[in-house]
Symmetry: C2
Subunit: 331 residues, 2 copies
């Protein structure tokens, strides 16, 4: 009897260790209503993972790329990294007394965020560069982590890590258990996202493609570190998203997810490859549970992308009608 | 009896699928003679993978970086990519009649390689840029693959993929089965290495960090492609190896392997992190089976690195005495 017990234990263990339970869960996307988008995702994944299917894709080539702001988490009324930068300008102002009279910093310090941001893209870039430089990468990571653990969204009062989209978390996990490698491909700062992406999305630092600032390898206080300078090295948006993917991954993705015109090239590059491809645009249609915006919005501007979606067969996700819940633990 | 057979099969399968046979092979590095280098590697791996050890490192942080030329494969009498480039200059000469009178191209076309290369680093760069541009990344990959399948080394007459170092292949595999993520961090072209790295080393495209040329996302013949331009975007050598690692991986490696002064910063950055670290220099000491060179060689110049190895505790591998064989299927 003892022996039978042992054999049963071995059989049980063999099942536990060889079987991917997540992959057989009845509904891999429980927060998605049954509809075109959900069915498109599931059909795609089933086709590319079935060795008998002509659209089968080898594991190493199952690359999926996700925009971040507005695709994986909320971006209204301002990008989270911009809210972080504004706080940093206040913190750093002591070190830079000249900011009191220098635009756009003076406007930020007076609380006139709208004024500062309306000074144009260069002004916004000045703020972001100044706020994200002047320290080592390791120090920066700690500052971002501390902020993410504490700061709250001005409207929802939730932490930013709670304003990620539950349906997209399920999608990331569904692709992962089907041996996709998920990448974030964002206009946001690469180190800003890396500071929390593994914890929040389960996507590790090496799978983040983002905007890169000038950094230098230096000795500081006897330690060998990477120091951040307030200059742009690579702005990972629009055409550059494709270049970032190429340099970083070296493979054409088979699935791409975005929400704004900044993602057009990434989706076009992805879906113009041979074989089964999935291009998807998250359309912000829910003015109650989130925000509703597209062609007229400056943040997350989506106009040409909507037109191209029809032309190129991208799936447009109607957040209001296709998502059962928006954020984790909410509806 | 039928049932017993079935149970035995299940037990057997459970062992096969749940047990990592490679990890328990008696000698994970059979081509390494017992000695300081082999013992240093094994001690390091055992420390960082043992959860009871204070030097334990979580799987996601087990990052190892390898230089390519002279560390994973032979680099004498010329880098393989340079031999590839010289052949390409001959092929492309038809399209560029002006090369007949333009240095350094005219020298290459006359067969005076030594003369062309002694015209200085800028001349060499002109050759490499011209030879590796003017096509899409996908076309380039096919050209490199074709060359790797056919071209032979001028001295050994072996194919270049046969001039990889068997002991390093074993090391790559040993680290891989111990849940390290192996990266190549090379001054060579990122797409040049990607064309064959998975096949030859088992290291996929996304784990290559290399020199990057200017590329643009364009439409060519109705297809959306990435076109290569003969300009440098990022030269991944010396200090820039650290920046390349930071941008690409976003984690400080815990092990790094190089062979020349171009790898100093990568090894220094790696071994100056906290916790257990492994820095290793492959020293070319075998004039019979390979080449013997260090302080006086232009290719693979190793001088300051030898001095720093003593100072910083890097292990110097004596190829002649520590490697049983150099190339696969040879001794």
């Amino acid at each position: 009897m003892q022996k039978n017990k042992y054999i049963r234990a071995v059989i049980w263990l063999s099942l536990v260790f060889t079987f991917n339970w997540s992959a057989v869960a009845k509904d891999p996307l429980p927060s998605w209503n049954d509809g075109v988008s959900k069915q498109t995702i599931i059909n795609f994944v089933e086709r590319v993972t079935d060795p008998e299917n002509p659209d089968f894709v080898a594991k190493g080539d199952r690359i999926a790329t996700f925009d971040n702001d507005g695709t994986l988490w909320a971006e209204q009324p301002l990008y989270a990294q911009l809210m972080f930068a504004i706080e940093r300008i206040h913190v750093l102002a002591e070190k830079y007394p000249e900011w009191k009279t220098k635009q756009p910093f003076s406007l930020i310090l007076k609380g006139d965020i709208k004024g500062a941001l309306s000074a144009g893209d260069d002004a916004v870039m000045d703020i972001v560069m100044a706020a994200n430089a002047g320290m080592t990468n390791e120090q920066y990571t700690e500052i971002v982590k501390e902020w993410m653990g504490r700061a709250t969204h001005p409207v929802s009062k939730k932490k930013f890590s709670e304003m990620i989209y539950q349906p997209m978390l399920e999608l990331i996990n569904y692709l992962k258990v089907n041996d996709f490698k998920n990448y974030i491909v964002s206009g946001g700062g690469i180190e800003f996202i890396r500071a929390w992406s593994d914890l929040v999305y389960g996507i590790p630092a090496e799978q983040i493609v983002g905007t890169i600032m000038v950094t230098k390898y230096e000795e500081v206080d006897g330690k060998r570190v990477i120091v951040r300078y307030p200059e742009m090295s690579f702005y990972n948006n629009k055409h550059n998203k494709v270049i970032g993917i190429s340099n970083h991954i070296g493979k054409r993705p088979i699935a791409a997810f975005g929400n704004s015109d900044g993602d057009i090239q990434m989706l076009q590059y992805t879906t113009s490859g041979q074989g089964a491809r999935l291009g998807m645009i998250i359309h912000h249609t829910d003015e109650k549970r989130e925000w509703a915006y597209d062609r007229k919005s400056k943040i997350g501007h989506l106009s040409k992308g909507l037109d191209m979606a029809k032309e190129l067969g991208w799936t447009v996700v109607d957040m209001k009608n296709e998502w059962k819940s928006i954020y984790p633990n909410s509806n």
